[in-house]
Structure formats: structure tokens, C-alpha cells
Amino acid sequence: MNPSSARDSNWTLVFACWLIAVASTLGSLFFSEVMGFAPCILCWYQRIAMYPLVLILPAGMFPFDRNIVRYAAPLALLGLLIAAFHLLLVAGYIPESIKPCVQGVPCTEVQIEWFGFVTIPLLSGVSFLLITALLILTYKRSSK
């Protein structure tokens, strides 16, 4: 592969991350603003990790800068951790006592359940997982 096409495919990977981040951002806004679900505290923390990616990623795409991975990965990883915590909480693996949200909307409340298993924290977890994986792939490929 010549350097320019390798660069292009790395760019495409970051672009894919951006698409996922935009879709997740708009999706979460749809749940809260259109469908009227109040976001719980953990949802807010995940939003804090997701929304900035929509703006940060393009900054590393024009012109392409492989360091974008270093700026974006901490957010994606943090989001992934919170989503994992949230999923474990909903599934009941994390006991009541260390639940961080007692007031307002309980984080264990399941607001949507598509096909019997797709919940909002699952969607969030999958998005963060994909973004993290794609960023790591981009970094590995571009460091060759």
C-alpha cells in the first residue's frame, strides 16, 4: 500500500468513529428531547464522554493527524467504562449499595428494550466499544 492510500484508509477509520459519535449523540437527544425520557446520572456521564467526540474528531480529520487518536481515545475509553458499569448495574451484578444514583431517574430503570435485549446503555456501550476499537486500529496502522 502506498503512503497516501494508507493515510486515506486511516482517515476513513476516524470518519467511521465520527459517524458513530454523531449517530449516538443524535440518538441520545432523540430519546431525551423527542421521546421525553429523562436521562439518569450515568447517562449524563456517558453523554459527557460522547458529545465532545463529535467536535474533536473532525479537528483531526482536516488535515488528517494521527494524534487525534491520543486526544479522542481517553474520552471513548472513559465512556466505555461508564457504559460497562451502567450495564452491570442494570443487570444487577453491582449491588444497590454502591449505586451512585438514588434521586431523580434511577439508572436501573429500563426505558426501552428492543428485540428483548437492546437497551439504551447497551447502545451506548456498543458505540463506545466500536469507537475505541477503531481508534486503536487507526493508531496501530498509522504507527507502522
Binding site: V22, L26, L29, F30, V34, M35, F37, F62
Partner: protein, 216 residues
């Protein structure tokens, strides 16, 4: 340059998809509510629900309210004015959606006051004193008693009625109906079964005017 176009086009596409989905969702929700209203009006209006206005009115506003909700308080005079502007044409049905914790106690006071024919007056007193008994969205139902002394209620009977299983059931029924009708915030209005397309005075006004034009 191509890459830039790709990003702009996909960004615009996703945004448009969002807007289209929101519009579709809203109209589907409105249709579903209108159909439910035709099919089973009981979810909207229960025999126990306090109502205002003439029984022959062809436009019916069903309002899910929470006595601790500030926006409900702010909407109250507006709805009253809407009704005054169209006398005998609008009927208001009050339903309870006590989403603040502690609000259910206040709702029970209101329903017990309804038994004495004083729902209206009690609701006004409770709304007027809202900052006093529900500071910072934290209702303290026991403080409400300080503000409803002048309404002319038989307080002993009120306290008895409040703890009766009938009123408990009424509150549970209203909460269940709010859930069935997808009420997630207060105040939620249904005008002849139709919810507001988005929240606001103007939207409610349009909805009421459309219903008036269709009925009269």
C-alpha cells in the same frame, strides 16, 4: 476535498434523519392518542376526575398536573383564560401525575377537597402557596395545611377522606393512566385526545383553536 464533502453530506444527512424521525414520532404519537381517545375515552376521563366548564362543551382539555410542578402553576391562569374566552365551549378535566416525590399526598388533599366540592379553590390555594410548601422542587406535604385554612374545607373530614382506600385507588388509577398515555412530564394536555406537538402556550392555543374550529 472529497473527504470534506463526505463529512458535510453525512452530517447533514444524519441531522435531516433526526428531524424527520422526530416529526414522524410526534405525528404517530398524536394519531395514537387521538385513536385511543375515540376507542377508550375512559383512560382520559375517569368518573372521579374533577372537571370545570359546561358538560355540553365539545372541546375537552384533559390536563395531567402535579401540584408541585411550577410549570403547571404557570399554565393554570392561561388555561383559565382560554376557557373564559370561549365560555361553554371548553371543558377541563384535571388528572393527577404526581411525579415529584411527596406530591401524591397533596394530590390526595385535592381529591378529598373535590369530595367537598372545593377542588378548584384548593388547587388555586395550593398553587399560590407553591413556593412555600415545595421549595426547590422538594414538596413538604405537611406544610400544605398552613395554606388551605381559608378555603373553607372541613379539615377533619378531609383528613379522613385522604387516607381512605377509595382515594388511594383514584391516585393509583391516575398514575396508571398517565403511564398508558405516555405522560412523562407535567403539565401534559390532551385536547380532544390530541397532545401538543411540542410544549408551549402557543401550541396549546393552536390545538384548542383547531378543536374549536372543528367542533363549532
Amino acid at each position: 476535498m472529497k473527504q470534506k464533502h463526505l463529512v458535510i453530506v453525512s452530517g447533514v444527512f444524519l441531522l435531516l434523519a433526526f428531524v424527520a424521525a422526530a416529526l414522524l414520532y410526534r405525528s404517530a404519537k398524536s394519531d395514537a392518542a387521538a385513536q385511543a381517545y375515540q376507542r377508550n375515552k375512559l383512560t382520559f376521563v375517569r368518573p372521579h376526575s374533577p372537571t370545570f366548564g359546561s358538560t355540553g362543551a365539545k372541546v375537552e382539555i384533559v390536563e395531567f398536573l402535579d401540584p408541585a410542578c411550577e410549570t403547571c402553576k404557570e399554565f393554570y391562569p392561561y388555561v383559565k383564560k382560554l376557557m373564559a374566552d370561549h365560555p361553554d365551549k371548553i371543558r377541563l378535566v384535571a388528572r393527577y401525575a404526581p411525579f415529584h416525590s411527596g406530591s401524591d399526598q397533596v394530590v390526595k388533599i385535592l381529591q378529598a377537597a373535590h369530595n367537598q366540592g372545593k377542588f378548584h379553590e384548593t388547587l388555586e390555594a395550593v398553587f399560590a402557596a407553591q413556593p412555600g410548601w415545595a421549595p426547590q422542587h422538594r414538596p413538604q406535604p405537611e406544610l400544605v395545611w398552613n395554606y388551605i385554612g381559608n378555603v373553607g374545607l372541613d379539615i377533619r373530614r378531609l383528613r379522613q377522606d385522604m387516607s381512605s382506600p377509595e382515594i388511594e385507588k383514584i391516585v393509583e388509577q391516575d398514575i396508571a393512566d398517565a403511564k398508558t398515555l405516555n405522560v412523562k412530564a407535567t403539565p401534559e394536555f390532551f385536547v380532544n385526545g390530541k397532545p401538543m406537538p411540542s410544549f408551549g402556550y402557543d401550541q396549546l392555543n393552536t390545538l384548542v383553536n383547531d378543536a374549536l374550529a372543528a367542533a363549532y
